[in-house]
Amino acid sequence: MTRFIINRIWQALIVLLVMSFVIYGLIGLMPGDPLDIMIASNPGATPEVVAHLRAIYGLDQPLMLRYWHWLMSALMGDFGFSRIHSQPTLEVLGPALLQTCKLLIASFVVSVVLSLVLGIIAALRPGGFVDNTISLIAFAGISVPVFWLALMMILVFAVKLHWFPASGMGNIGDGGFMDQARHLIMPVTTLALANTGGFIRYVRASMIETLRMDHVRTARAKGAGEGRVVLVHAFRNALIPVVTVIALNFGTLFSGALLTETMFAQPGMGKMIYDAILGNDFNLALTGLLFATVITLLSNLLADLAYGWLDPRIAVA
């Protein structure tokens, strides 16, 4: 097991190195220099001033040289200075990460619990009324655009009913647990609904396949109750493919909750990375994307370890 984990860590480091190079290069290939936009409406920005600003921000150096400097500094623990936030990147990353964790973990727990429950129920009677209804809900969740869902949530629950605040992370002067919870309900619900549909489909498909397997039939023949058959004999085996999908999604969500964050004005990792890429903020974009990569790799490692727990034969292999 230890050797397995060490091997995976080595692989992760190589992936991170390659990713950092690719990301840096891709951002560098994007058209437009951020300084040009910054000074576009400034009548006093002489070419000398522009050249000097470019030097201040290190934009006058060749791309590869800039990457090399960044890499050397990053290896020493200095991930550089964010140009668009005018702060060290780690200081920008911290609050964004905290906000994303709140939003992501809450929505992830909700969507995983909901999808497991609804996916199992749907799989028990494939093609029946309950299955069709759950599938309809799942497809609706998959099909509805997140920004539309978010807007509808705001219009119904904030504009019409006045139950929840339409945006923000907390009231000034309050900011207590209940206040933060009040501000999180709608974004968490939106993100959970958006993810649950896909998860339900995976759980349902995996459960249907497992329930047809020989060991489940044997358990039934031995007289095990339906609840025990489903939850003990089928569910554990059905979880293996589901865990893979959930692990992959977890990493993606860290950088991909952009629409929800934007609609509810809850700036997290997704928004931060998006702004950094558009603003040619190399240091911040790289650090954010590499962090999301680390989370994805970590999620996959945990998924691999979970396989062993779910099916000891995999652990032995």
Binding site: V50, R182, Q266
Partner: protein, 546 residues
């Protein structure tokens, strides 16, 4: 469910009226007034950090921190001769005696001298420091009186921007040693809630990056008592969500200075909720136009440029798209501007006249209706712009149809703003027309957009914004006059000559002046939008509840 939510305390409480929540669509990168110029930053700082002088809602110059505007007439401005024989300016600045930073330290000429010194340094990294660039030295007479020495005669002498707190920023600058480190270390960046950074009626007391900025009254403000205990500038980047926040009451107002809702969104809201808010439309200097690529042989002919403008039914476009709120433009100077020239050539909608001009220029309609030259080449031009703004795209679609009606085939190519401004315009890579807007300070010399030295080239490191490649020696001479002439009558002659040449030669097809569209609560009084870059927040202390 509702009862349960209320019992659980999750239903939102009503907000006190002594708070004002302003919804904006972007967040400033930092709060330093001279680094990374941004509309949202200038707007927010208007509450907290005041310039020495500015322009008011009537577009007249006014004193903010100064006691009296320096003029030739009152003797506070005098022309002096430098040792090399060149003429220069000495401008006396008198600050109001009772102004204080929000930590209780007086605002003095030491702040003026410090800001002038840093702002004059071309290596400071400052980008909106035109006035300071002209100031060679400052003689401090006493705590509130100083004489600024300009290197040349310069009409910007009475546009004196914000001061930096010398008692806070000098040690930071000296410790940093260079511009790059100062940008990282400035207190406006590292600790933007430091009271001593602000001298306006409000000061920043909470700063949550990317989310919101909170301002509370400055206890040392000597002027009119601010009307709110708290002003929150909240960032909601998605404008549909911003609109919903207005309707839900989470946001009280959204400004019209380009950081709130778009004009079409405000018009839609006015139709849907006519009585809920006050909708304020303010004529502004925002100038919508089409740059022409004069390197393109088709567009190099002035008859073609005039015909293109005459083929556009701008009046109908304004009426149908924005309820007539776009004001038709004949040049880049708005009609409210004191230097606006009357009697400029006006190219109204005249498709027959446009066809005649095209024919005179050698373009005749083919069998498919598209114009062709003597070689049979079609009249095809591209129209470049930015993506993501619905009203811009609507205008382009209508313009495309109207130009097709006179035989001009237009290919619309829109791109992300960073690509459009950073590549296409900067490198003059557009081959036909480029659609975008400028926001001017009233009566501000227009060198950046009209100067021959402002044509972007490799030699000037692609600096300047004369993207059309317009070279007019008479305009160049007039530009110099508008930059240096202190006699208003002589300066006005130059302004008029420039506008006349611009309207006759049409290097740019003038379209409209776009108004600011503000949505404010019914109970907000004393709100006076300006229509230019000295935003309404510069008089934020006048904003009061009913």
């Amino acid at each position: 469910m509702a009862a349960a939510l209320i019992a659980a305390g999750v239903v939102q409480p009503a907000r006190a009226k002594d708070d004002l929540v302003i919804g904006v669509s972007s967040f400033p990168s930092m709060m330093h007034p001279y680094i990374n110029p941004e509309v949202v930053k200038s707007y927010t700082l208007g509450f907290a950090l005041r310039p020495v002088s500015a322009q008011d809602a009537a577009w007249n110059k006014e004193c903010i921190l100064c006691a009296e505007l320096p003029t030739l007439a009152n003797g506070m401005v005098r022309i002096e001769t430098r040792p090399d024989g060149a003429q220069a300016l000495a401008v006396t600045v008198k600050l109001k005696p009772d102004q204080k930073w929000a930590d209780g330290v007086a605002v003095t000429t030491a702040d003026l001298a410090f800001t002038a010194k840093v702002g004059h340094d071309p290596l400071s990294g400052f980008t909106n420091n035109q006035t300071w660039q002209g100031v060679d030295s400052v003689d401090i007479i006493d705590a509130i009186t100083a004489v600024m020495h300009f290197a040349t005669v310069n009409v910007l002498f009475d546009r004196i921007p914000t001061l930096l707190p010398e008692h806070i920023e000098r040690p930071i600058l000296e410790h940093a040693g260079n511009a790059a480190d100062y940008i990282k270390a400035t207190t406006y960046n590292r600790a933007p809630t430091t009271p001593g950074l602000y001298n306006g009626p409000y000061m920043i007391t909470d700063y949550r990056s990317g989310s919101q900025i909170v301002l509370e009254p400055n206890p040392y403000w000597p002027g009119k008592k601010p009307g709110f205990n708290r002003i929150v500038v909240r960032t909601i980047e998605n404008t549909a969500s911003l609109q919903a926040n207005l309707l839900s009451g989470d946001v009280d107002m959204t400004p019209g200075e380009g950081i709130g809702l778009t004009l079409d969104q405000v018009l839609t809201m006015r139709k849907q909720e006519p009585d809920r808010f006050n909708y304020v439309f303010r004529d502004s200097t925002a100038y919508l136009h089409l740059d022409t690529q004069l390197d393109n042989p088709i567009l190099a002919d002035v008859r073609v440029r005039r015909a293109l403008l005459m083929a556009l039914d701008r009046k109908t476009m304004s009426d149908k798209l924005v309820d007539g709120l776009w004001t038709l433009a004949d040049a880049w100077i708005a009609p409210q501007d004191p230097v606006y020239a009357k009697g400029l050539p006006h190219y109204g909608y005249d498709p027959a006249g446009a066809r005649t001009l095209f024919m005179q220029a050698g373009w005749n309609p083919g069998t498919d209706g598209i114009l062709r030259d003597a070689k049979g080449e079609k009249f095809v031009i591209e129209l470049r712009g930015t993506t993501g703004i619905r009203l811009n795209e609507l205008f382009q679609a209508v313009a495309q149809q109207q130009l097709k009606a006179v035989g001009v085939e237009v290919n619309i190519k829109n791109e992300q703003p960073r690509a459009f401004f950073g590549e296409t315009l900067k490198h003059r890579a557009f081959t036909g027309l480029a659609y975008y807007s400028w926001l001017f300070q009233p009566s501000y010399p227009a060198r950046q957009i009209l100067g021959i030295d402002q044509i972007p080239t490799t030699e000037n490191n692609w600096g300047g914004s004369n993207y059309m490649d317009w070279k007019n020696p008479a305009v160049e001479a007039a530009l110099k006059v508008t930059e240096t002439e202190l006699d208003p009558a002589k300066a006005q002659m130059a302004w008029t000559a420039m506008q006349m040449a611009y309207a006759q030669d049409l290097p740019v097809l003038p379209l409209f002046f776009r108004p600011e569209a503000h949505v404010i609560p019914k109970w907000l009084k004393g709100y006076r939008p300006t229509g230019h870059t000295n935003y309404a927040t510069l008089h934020g202390e006048d904003w009061q509840t009913e």
